[in-house]
């Protein structure tokens, strides 16, 4: 770890990165944004932005359950809860009935309400309010190790399922005819998204986590033609937003998550503008 800090001292001659907590925060950003950005490409393609939003919000309920059970390890309960919740939403969406956005909305608000009910018991919600906005400056070395393991494992799983997921996204019947177990692949994807979201939520916060999943991928999509460009630009934008947000927010002493998301939103606006200009040029 000290070696990494030493390298960072050389690479980042900024005053604010003298502090170890800033170095840790930066490392955390570099570790948690790429996986979300990669998963985001498919979440955007499959029009699942609303789904992941509901998933993020329901983390409040997950935290509430953890508090009720008296569990000290918040991350474990959040991940377990996230997996179950994601599978439940997917399962209910498949049985039909109401349209997907209605079902998801019901899940989202129910999750928030249950979470608030539990966490605000005895009027103590302020104790847990950090989950709403996250606190990446509180990252410890141990957390960084876990984020690193999660990144490696997450990207490996993502690489394994991607091709099958892509074929399924374009035409499920075709994917099935090529021996792809489309149900399995789709559940694997929502589970991976749930895990990535829940691991990042402590640092980024319930309110903004979905932006980190969707915005870089949506911005990348504006200027990409191939799957490779989409993944590349999405990761690039998310890393850039993560680092920029951190550097901007600390001097202002404001929320890191908010600054990161605003950076990503600016990139989205720029790429949208760029794509519109290109389109007009092509038509002319």
């Amino acid at each position: 770890m000290n070696t990494i800090y030493a390298i960072m001292d050389v690479l980042l001659p900024f005053e604010i990165f003298q502090f170890t907590f800033m170095k840790n925060a930066l490392l955390a950003m570099l570790l948690l944004t790429p996986l979300l950005a990669l998963l985001g490409t498919m979440a955007v393609n499959k029009r699942m932005a609303f789904f992941s939003d509901a998933l993020g919000h329901s983390a409040l309920f997950g935290l509430g359950i953890g508090v009720l059970l008296g569990m000290s390890n918040v991350t474990v309960i959040l991940v377990c809860f996230g997996i179950l919740w994601a599978m439940l939403i997917t399962r209910i969406n498949r049985t039909g009935g109401a349209s997907a956005d209605t079902t998801i909305s019901v899940f989202s608000s129910t999750g928030i309400a249950l979470g608030l009910l539990i966490l605000s018991g005895n009027g103590r919600f302020s104790k847990y309010s950090s989950i709403l906005v996250g606190d990446v400056l509180a990252v410890t070395q141990m957390d960084i190790l876990w984020l690193f393991i999660a990144l490696v494992a997450g990207v490996a799983l993502w690489a394994m399922m991607y091709n099958h997921l892509l074929l399924t996204a374009v035409n499920p019947q075709l994917a099935q005819s090529r021996g792809i177990r489309t149900n399995l692949v789709e559940y694997a994807f929502v589970i991976l998204v749930a895990v990535a979201v829940m691991l990042a939520i402590r640092w980024v916060g319930v309110l903004l986590i979905n932006a980190l999943l969707i915005l870089p991928a949506a911005a990348a999509r504006n200027i990409s033609r191939s799957a490779r460009q989409h993944a590349f630009f999405s990761v690039l934008f998310s890393l850039f937003s993560g680092v920029c947000g951190l550097i901007i927010s600390v001097p202002l002493n404001s929320s890191v998550g908010a600054a990161v998301v605003l950076c990503a939103a600016s990139i989205y606006a720029l790429t949208l503008l760029l794509s519109q200009i290109l389109r007009i040029r092509l038509q002319a």
Binding site: L38, T41, N45, K46, R47, W158, A159, M160, Y162, N163, H164, L166, L167, A169, V170, N171, P172, Q173, L174, Q176, S177, R178, G179, I180, R181, A220, R221, S224, R225, S226, A227, R228, Q229, H230, A231
Partner: protein
Amino acid sequence: MPRNNLFAPEAYDPTHKHHDHTHHHHSHCGLCRIELENVSVTSGGDTLLQDVYMHIHCGQLTALVGPNGAGKTTLIRALLSQIPYTGAIHHIDDRERPLRMVRTGYVPQQLPFDKQMPVTVTDFIAASLTKRPVWTGVGKKTRERVQEALSLAQAEKLASRQMGQLSGGELQRVLLAMALTPTPDLLILDEPVSGMDQNGLYLFLDTVDQLKRSRHMAILLVSHDWSLVREYADQMVLLNKSVLCAGTPETVFACETFREAFPAAAREGK
């Protein structure tokens, strides 16, 4: 049973020459015909297919016709082993011996997908040929195999196009290229008519017809374009839960049950 495990992408034989018109039996399998015997499918108390008997021969294009809800898609799904059925589907080789497994290429009906998706034709086909995730890029060897697949459907020029920007006919060609790689014994075309203009359609069927002759493939075509069926089909099957009439197109067009089901088509044929 996932087909990928049985027929790894490596099994695709790139030495096949697609413009070879000489008649030759495909070496990898030797399928002669598929026999459906007493095939029935029920779902939630509804009978979707009842006691279907039919043959699909290699080197022939069999047209499957029937009114909406006749069970055509169900039959295809049974052939693809995607749904449970009773009865039997036999695959028989040219020495009258049963084959355990045949390769099936499937060109689905066009389903809506996100047209803005940043996925090129090469990405899409490569995803079906290799394990390497296409977001890391497509290697040179895979790229060559994609080109080879596309050339089978005369779609080489589409390689770098975005999937969502293809016209109906172009998309159909890409799906055909995929269905033909690795070379199937049975090719199923589920209503390729939708979203294609008349020219594109005949061009498409000409390609399929050539493949039928050069590869000796069994082809099952679902279509309601009667002039198309008349021109390209060797055999024709009228389905409505079970087989109502089967034989050469002339036979089926003359069938009483066909004229009842499609009076307009029958008049036009006279």
